[in-house]
Amino acid sequence: MLNPTIRSAIVPWCTVTLVITGACTAPGGERGAAPEYRGWMLAEPMPKPDFTLRSTDGEPFSFRKETKGSVTLLFFGYTYCPDVCPLHMANIAAVLKKLPPRVASQVKVVFVTTDAERDTPERLRQWLGNFDPKFIGLTGPLDEVNAIQRSIGLAASRREEWPDGGYGMGHSAQVIGYTKDDLAHVMYPFGTRQEDWAHDLPRLVEGPPSG
C-alpha cells in the first residue's frame, strides 16, 4: 500500500506512540479475509478528546460537541509545512470530491494548527479553502494543542529553530479517524494513498468496525 520510500520514513515513528494492531496490509489482503480498513487499527478504540479551540471564523469550537456522531478526521499540522500537511489534505480532498455526495457530506475534516503564531485564522482559512472550503480549521496556544495531542497518544509538537532565523514545527503525521460512535478505531499515517482513503472513507461512514 505504501511507497517504499515513504514507508521507510514513517516506520520509526508510527510504532512509537500508539499501540497498533494490523498492518499496512496490501489491498485486498494477501492472507485470509480482506481487511475491513486499510488504515492502521488501534488496539484499543480511543474516545474523542474533549477540547475547545477557536475556529477560523473566530468562534469557540468544541470538538466533541460539534463533531458528535460524525465521522471525523483529525490532523495536527501547519501551513508553512510544504510537504506532509498539504499532501495529506490534498489526498483527502481529492477523494472526497470523487465520493458520492451522500458519503462525502458525512465526513468532517478538522485541522488543528501547531503554529498559531504564524497561522492566523485568515491564513488558515485560505489554506484549507484551497483543498476544501468545508475543512474546519482550529487555532489555539501551543501548550493547549500539545495537551490535546498527548491526550490521544500523539507526540507533542516542537518548534525547531533554523539557522536562517526561520523555524519549523515538528508534528505528528497521523490522521486520526473517528467513526459515528465517537471513537477512533483507525489512524492513517503519512503515505496513506488516495485509493486507501477511497476504500476506507465509505466504510467509516457505514459505521464502526465490526467485532
Binding site: N3, A9, P86, L87, A90, N130, H171, A173
Partner: protein
C-alpha cells in the same frame, strides 16, 4: 512570466515522454530513462514541483542517480522562482516528523537518491510570484564533484504528487 523562469519549454512533451519511462519505484528510475539533466556522473532522473498553496512556501522533488564510482554531494539548490531554496531533511523521531535545513546531502555511488514526499526535499521560500499546474520551474543544483546542473520540472497539483512519486506522470 518569463522573468520568473516560468514558462513551458518546447521540450515539455519530450520531457513527459522521458518521465513516462521512469514508471516504477520513486527512487529507482529505469536505467534507460532519459534524464532531465546529466553531468559528471550525476543524472537527474525525475523531478516535479507541487503548485504552492500559499504565496510563501513550496516544495520541489527530484531524484539524482550517481552513475560514478565515488560519492558526490548535493551542495545547493536554486530555483528562479524563489528567493531562497533550502535542502531539508525530514525524519521521524519520537512519534513526529521533523523538518530542518541541512548543509548538503550525500549522493552515494551506484544509487538513486530521492528528494521525495515525506523524506528529504527542497523547500522554496520567498516566492517571487505564483505558479500553477502546467507551468515548469527551472531548477539549478550544484554538486561538489559534478558541478552545476540545470533542469526543468513540471508543476503539478498536490493531489497528483502521490501518483508522480510512485509511477511517474499519468
Amino acid at each position: 512570466m518569463g522573468s520568473l523562469g516560468l514558462r513551458v519549454p518546447l521540450g515539455v512533451p519530450w520531457l513527459i515522454i522521458a518521465l513516462a519511462a521512469c514508471r516504477g519505484e520513486s527512487n529507482r528510475a529505469a536505467p534507460d530513462a532519459t534524464p532531465l539533466a546529466e553531468r559528471g556522473g550525476i543524472a537527474v532522473t525525475t523531478g516535479y514541483a507541487p503548485e504552492p498553496i500559499t504565496p510563501d512556501v513550496a516544495a520541489v522533488y527530484f531524484s539524482l542517480r550517481n552513475t560514478g564510482t565515488e560519492a558526490d554531494r548535493l551542495l545547493t539548490v536554486a530555483a528562479d522562482v524563489a528567493g531562497e531554496a533550502q535542502i531539508h531533511a525530514q525524519r521521524g523521531e519520537g512519534g513526529m516528523m521533523r523538518m530542518e535545513p541541512i548543509a548538503g546531502l550525500e549522493i552515494p555511488p551506484g544509487t538513486v537518491t530521492a528528494l521525495a514526499p515525506g523524506g528529504n526535499h527542497v523547500m522554496l521560500m520567498n516566492l517571487r510570484g505564483r505558479y500553477a499546474v502546467g507551468d515548469s520551474l527551472q531548477v539549478h543544483i550544484t554538486l561538489e564533484r559534478a558541478g552545476q546542473l540545470t533542469f526543468w520540472v513540471p508543476v503539478i497539483a498536490y493531489e497528483d504528487v502521490e501518483a508522480m512519486a510512485e509511477r511517474g506522470p499519468p
